[in-house]
Amino acid sequence: MNRLFLLLVSLSISLLADPKQQLFNLYQQGNYLQTCNFGLKNFSSYTNDEAYVSLYAFSCLKADLVDRLAAPIMTLNQTKEARANTAYFSVIVMQKKLLMQALYDNKPIKDLTFPTSSYLLSKVFDLYLKNPQLTQFIKEYQDPSDSRMRYKLYAAESNGRKSIAIDEYYDKILTHHHVY
């Protein structure tokens, strides 16, 4: 009984929480897609709140909604951390756009040098640079640091938009299908 009541009270408090707190709660629960959508809804009220904008950006990143990073990239600038994160986001967006050109338009990107990151799209981008597999529609790569991980990269439409798909295989089992 005690516990039920306490649960109800704390739930009602979290519901009354402000949008910033709600954003954080959603993120903590791992509902990244929901967090990203929620963050977008309230974005205009929090443009100057770099913590809010940063958390929104990371949630969209985790939900594979790379295109949503555009607004945070423009907004974040005040602190060293914000600027570092902006550079990180920019690299990922750039890599996605280059991969789109490569996969849809056969634009060669082999001889360019780029900064990189630990984000999956960046990892696969680097693998693509080393081995574009131009004759394969579905490009396959072994993870150099983990022999049990494999990736597939291919062009894929989603909701009528031209997108990129990256499939993660662990021990040959498809574990995650990302669409960017």
Partner: protein, 269 residues
């Protein structure tokens, strides 16, 4: 009733597998693309697993439909559980060999080696959880001999039992799990199915509240959704005949969705 608005939608949701009725859901079609590409590789087995009603049979049928235009693909949608019958049918349909004598594995492999196609034939086995462990062993040996490539579907829990054994794992090129649809995907599935058959009025009756209820009842399972909507439109058909004033065309009635769910067993009441 001849001109019922609901008889066509009802029949659309009959739970039968027909590749012509395939509805493209983005994430599934990405998997399908990947599967279609993988099947051309020099592999032994691909495993497609998932809970019942997640679309494994549909995907397998579609694969059969698409590949058989260009290469030798055989589909076993209903398992032949007798081992010798299975081998005999396999030999007959793949190699055109119809012996009178009993077909053993050794004999089968001899025939396979003798025939030796330039492209290894593909065999699609649906509901492989119904095959005995001993027959699965034979299938494994056939794939080892590179006589046939197998694409196998299994219910999820069975995967963990049968194929989990080490000697199977090493034969599996890829293992893909199909899952229930997300709420968004379910909406797309229902809308596309209705619109493909020009059932615009009925498609417009589905609002967000209705979709939320349907998704929560069926948990995104395609089979459960088919059964639920078949029952729902049967209900609408009945009310249209017997009490048409009750029908509102701007949205579905939650009450009737729930009644359909009671009928199909999604709600226990």
């Amino acid at each position: 009733m001849e001109n019922s608005l609901f008889s066509k939608p009802r029949d659309l949701f009959l739970d039968i597998v027909n590749p012509k009725d395939y509805v493209q859901i983005d994430s599934v079609s990405h998997i399908y693309q990947s599967l279609k590409s993988s099947v051309q590789k020099p592999l032994k087995m691909i495993l497609l697993f998932g809970k019942p009603g997640t679309g494994k049979s549909m995907l397998l049928h579609k694969l059969h439909h698409d590949l058989s235009k260009n290469q030798k693909v055989l589909m076993f949608d209903i398992p032949i559980v007798d081992e010798y019958d299975f081998l005999r049918v396999l030999a007959q349909r793949i190699f055109g060999h119809a012996p009178r004598e009993e077909m053993t594995l050794t004999r089968f492999l001899e025939i396979a080696e003798a025939v030796s196609y330039s492209e290894v034939p593909i065999v699609l086995l649906d509901e492989a959880q119904l095959y005995s462990a001993s027959l699965m062993e034979k299938i494994r040996l056939i794939s080892d001999a590179r006589a046939i490539k197998f694409v196998i579907t299994l219910h999820k829990t069975d995967k963990e039992d049968v194929i989990a054994k080490e000697h199977f794992q090493t034969r599996i090129w890829e293992s893909i799990e199909l899952q229930n649809a997300t709420a968004e995907e379910l909406k797309v599935y229902i809308q596309k199915k209705l619109l493909k058959s020009n059932c615009f009025d009925v498609a417009n009756m589905f609002n967000d509240k209705n979709m939320k209820l349907i998704a929560s009842l069926t948990k995104g399972n395609y089979r459960e959704t088919n059964k639920l909507l078949f029952s729902l439109f049967s209900l609408y058909y009945w009310y249209e005949e017997n009490n048409p004033t009750l029908i509102k065309y701007n949205a579905l009635k939650s009450k009737w969705i729930e009644m359909a769910a009671i009928h199909t067993g999604l709600i226990r009441a």
